[in-house]
């Protein structure tokens, strides 16, 4: 049992680093995913990941696998898209989803164009798929720092954020904090995706954000509990996914997300809140 569950981490430093990285990621991304989901913005993470990619790719082309350049590129691209989206959605007739769709697609197209002009076909796969097994000190600090910032900022804007989730109309009538809170929240989405792409790659980074949130939804009605469950299941998926990759030889990033997928299916079937089995056999639930 020890050999199976603990030994990989005591024996190999890269496993410890990978674990620390995924834990930090899950901590930051859990709450963000829950808010995205409750605001019916589940696909925003995916769109944002595409918006970040070109910035990261440009950073990569300018200075190679340089943490700072890729992070800065990703942040800039992400923030620009988030800001433009917010502006267009709040000042014109275009709704937020449409505005985001236009800007992330433009950003993606721009990135691909710049990469193709630059010529060399050096593995862009490393930009698309980060490597959770190769987290150095710098990257770990970046991920942990981002997670800390996320948790602090969420604590600060928690109230406006929750109110805007449940009743945006009411929020607008009592306070002007909705707009700034919304933008701050989008910024958090961006920095979490940026740290996610170092560990899991742009595409899978969205997975560690949204799958735990969806899992939480099946177990709790209360938003705080939902966040706790989401975070815990993200942590669990990270830990078990790494072990799975260690023992079976499946690539690590996908293993983590697939594990989260398994948890999701279990929750979908047996979840206390709206799980399929509960819906089919509601009797006992009513008696209780």
């Amino acid at each position: 049992m020890f050999d199976l569950l603990i030994a990989p981490f005591t024996e190999f430093e890269f496993m410890r680093r990978a674990l620390a990285g995924t834990l930090a990621l899950a901590l930051g991304a859990g709450p963000i995913g829950v808010f995205l989901m409750l605001r019916r913005m589940s696909l925003v993470g995916d769109a944002m990941a595409h918006a970040i990619l070109p910035g990261a790719a440009i950073g990569f082309l300018l200075s190679g696998l340089n943490l700072f350049a890729m992070t800065a590129g990703g942040l800039i691209a992400g923030f620009i898209v988030a800001l433009l989206t917010g502006l267009v959605a709040r000042t014109t007739e275009l709704k937020e989803d449409a505005a985001l769709a236009t800007f992330y697609l433009l950003s993606l197209a721009l990135g691909v164009t710049i990469v193709s002009i630059k010529g060399t076909n050096v593995d862009l796969l490393h930009v698309l798929f980060g490597n959770v097994l190769a987290l150095d000190d710098q990257t770990l600090l970046l991920i942990a720092g981002n997670a800390s910032i996320s948790l602090l900022v969420i604590a600060l804007i928690y109230r406006p954020l929750v109110i805007e989730c449940v009743d945006p109309g009411f929020m607008r009538s009592v306070s002007r904090a909705g707009g700034p809170a919304h933008l701050a929240f989008l910024a958090l989405v961006v920095i979490n995706l940026v740290s996610g792409f170092h560990a899991l790659g742009t595409l899978l980074a969205v997975g560690i954000m949204m799958l735990p949130a969806a899992i939480g939804r099946f177990w709790a009605r209360d938003i705080t509990l939902m966040i706790v469950i989401a975070t815990v299941s993200g942590v669990l998926a990270g830990y078990v996914g790494l072990l799975l990759s260690f023992h079976t030889g499946i690539a690590s990033g996908p293993a983590i997300i697939l594990l989260a997928g398994v948890l999701y299916v279990v929750s979908l079937l047996f979840g206390r809140v709206g799980g399929l089995v509960r819906q089919l056999f509601p009797g006992r639930h009513l008696e209780a």
Binding site: N121, D123, I250, S252, A255
Partner: protein, 311 residues
């Protein structure tokens, strides 16, 4: 007053002889033979043999990765316009057949590794998991042995001489000069490696492309990924390689210009093996880089090996 017709006529009398003369001059010099090589190292060989008589372009340019290369329409155009296409063979350019067909080219495809005894890809005696491992397939990176490079050059010389008989003497002359340089290079490699202590001749690279170097010169290379750069290493692979470095006491870990350097640094820091510089395998660098030619590439790799292993 000059009429329009007169103007045209006089222009023609000036221009036409000029054009004819120009054509004549070009004909006297002969236009260079247009050749295509699939990647930069092969193009370097062709350039050295062909000199001014051959105009060679590489499809996968400097620093490109031929393993994951995707041909573009402009490449198909280049191939269509070429008189001859040089390929490495041994399964290195899986994409080439389709490209040649798509370009409707009739140019002969010359396999530069013809006559080289292929070694098996991968390293079966190590317990490294290789998802796409395929037994019985040859390792395509034959140029990593200078002895093989001489066979490449001989094949290119013969092909060019057959295609352009007028230049036969030129090709033979420049091939002889280049072959002499390669002989000197081969001796240089052997001299330097003789100075490395026998128990330190073990290194780890991120991309296992040095099988021929290993069998020719006796430095043992191991890679955390298979022979191809296409697969992502899993935690199991990385653990296997770290265990292996600890067990074999590999002396150094080398980065490469085509694979993930972050992973290599992590492995090195965890095992205490020395991190060598970049070893170039599949591609030359551009002119300002460390390895703009094949000879510079081998010398650069040799210098890196010596620096890490002779301590």
């Amino acid at each position: 007053m000059i009429t329009r017709r007169k103007a045209i006529a006089s222009t023609c009398t000036v221009l036409v002889p000029g054009v004819v003369l120009h054509l004549g001059a070009a004909y006297g010099q002969e236009a260079p033979v247009k050749a295509i090589a699939t990647f930069s190292i092969l193009a370097d060989f062709v350039r050295n043999v062909g000199g001014d008589r051959v105009d060679v372009a590489a499809l996968v340019g400097p620093n490109g990765n031929a393993h994951v290369y995707a041909p573009s329409p402009s490449d198909a155009k280049k191939v269509a316009g070429a008189k001859v296409v040089f390929v490495n063979g041994l399964g290195f350019e899986g994409w080439l057949d389709r490209l040649v067909k798509a370009s409707a080219s009739t140019a002969p495809v010359i396999v530069a590794t013809k006559g080289i005894k292929p070694i098996e890809r991968g390293d079966d005696h190590h317990e490294v998991h290789e998802p796409e491992h395929d037994h019985g397939r040859a390792d395509p990176h034959a140029w990593q042995s200078v002895t093989n490079a001489k066979i490449y050059v001989a094949n290119i010389r013969d092909a060019l001489a057959a295609l352009d008989p007028a230049g036969k003497a030129v090709y033979e002359g420049s091939a002889d000069t280049y072959l002499a340089k390669l002989d000197a290079l081969d001796r240089e490699v052997r001299d330097v490696i003789a100075r490395i202590p026998a128990d330190r001749r073990r290194v780890i690279t991120s991309h296992n492309a040095f099988g021929y170097f290993q069998s020719a010169y006796g430095i043992e290379f191991t890679a955390p990924q298979g022979v191809s750069t296409e697969s992502e290493a899993s935690a199991k692979d990385v653990a296997a390689i770290i265990t292996q470095i600890r067990r074999d006491k590999a002396a150094a870990v080398f980065l490469e210009n085509v694979t993930d350097p972050r992973l290599m640094r992590q492995i090195a820091s965890e095992t205490g093996a020395k991190v060598g510089g970049v070893l170039y395998s599949d591609a030359l660098t551009d002119r300002s880089g460390d390895a703009p030619t094949y000879i510079a590439l081998i010398r650069h790799n040799l210098k890196q090996l010596a620096a890490a292993l002779i301590s």
